[in-house]
């Protein structure tokens, strides 16, 4: 029995878990990015930069945050490919849903059918 377990244990994906220090580091980065986001938000209440620029920056920052959570806390990075598949494909569909609805409900699409 034991031998058989060894065999399977040896190639389990996502085995190389990180050290606790690394998790603290990631959390630190997350905290910094969050601080940046809020800073940007507060500073730009005076409209120092254009709204679209602020939104773009915020989106980039939060994408970094999300990616960090998914890759390191959820260990998607380095884990089996199937997990990436079952998470990223629906994420793509979700993005499609969001973007297409934004287009469909914007005023740019013509009126007459």
């Amino acid at each position: 029995m034991a031998g058989h377990r060894e065999e399977h244990g040896s190639h389990v994906h996502g085995e190389h878990s990180h050290s606790d220090r690394f998790y603290w580091l990631v959390a630190g980065v997350l905290a910094v990015v969050t601080a940046l986001e809020i800073g940007l938000f507060i500073i730009n209440e005076q409209h120092l930069i254009a709204k679209w620029l602020e939104v773009t920056l915020l989106l980039i920052l939060s994408t970094i945050k999300g990616a960090a959570v998914v890759m390191f806390f959820m260990h998607l990075k380095g884990d089996a490919g199937i997990f990436k598949f079952v998470f990223l494909v629906p994420l793509a569909f979700a993005t499609t849903l969001f973007l297409s609805f934004m287009v469909l409900f914007s005023d740019h699409v013509g009126i007459a059918g």
Partner: protein, 203 residues
């Protein structure tokens, strides 16, 4: 026996499966995929109505109602809970039951704090005149964040059940996987908040 299964539990945690991954972990990831579309729909609805809200006579301005300080606290709580969650997982993988208990209960505590904070926020908004029926902003905001809050609550229950299961069966080699999948769900709920935080509160 119990000693060894706590120290080297990984070997047994995965039976031979076609992809070499744990069934439940695969199931939870797929479930998270499904939940992604659940929240995407709620967020999409929020954005469909954001401009309509602005044009209506009963317009309620999100910027006027949403309190950036409280939100920052909430966001930090959830992010911190993700850290404690992953530390709890790391502890149980090491077989370190004490730190596992500490970190897991910390996660539960942070989750409860988030729910409490949200309850406070909702109550506050309600008294300021923002309700489900006061405006399109109220309608979309409460349903979106409310369902996120519900997910946090479910996550807390899930974590507690894992906690009690590990206590009841401390030697079970499945414990790390139980913690791992509960953690996946927990991180996902945090992830959703990362999105809500920027999309609803900041933009």
């Amino acid at each position: 026996m119990s000693e060894s299964s706590m120290t080297r539990p990984r070997a047994a945690a995965v039976h031979h499966t076609s992809l070499g991954v744990d069934n439940r972990k695969l199931g939870v990831w797929a479930f998270i995929g499904s939940e992604t579309l659940f929240f995407a729909t709620l967020i999409t609805t929020y954005f469909v109505f954001a401009p309509v809200n602005r044009m209506r006579p009963d317009f309620q301005d999100p910027r006027k109602f949403l309190d950036i300080e409280l939100t920052t606290v909430l966001a930090s709580i959830l992010l911190a809970s993700s850290l404690t969650m992953v530390l709890a997982l790391s502890a149980i993988k090491r077989g370190d039951r004490r730190w596992f208990t500490t970190w897991l209960l910390a996660t539960v505590g942070l989750g409860l704090a988030f729910i409490g904070g949200q309850a406070y926020e909702f109550n506050h908004l309600y008294h300021e005149g923002l309700t489900l029926s006061s405006s399109l902003f109220g309608t979309t905001f409460f349903v979106l964040t409310g369902f996120h809050g519900t997910h946090v609550a479910i996550g807390v229950i899930w974590l507690l059940s894992v906690f009690f299961k590990v206590r009841a069966y401390p030697d079970s080699p499945e414990n790390p996987m139980d913690v791992e999948i509960a953690g996946l769900y927990w991180h996902f709920v945090d992830l959703v908040w990362v999105a809500i935080f920027v999309l609803v509160y900041l933009i």
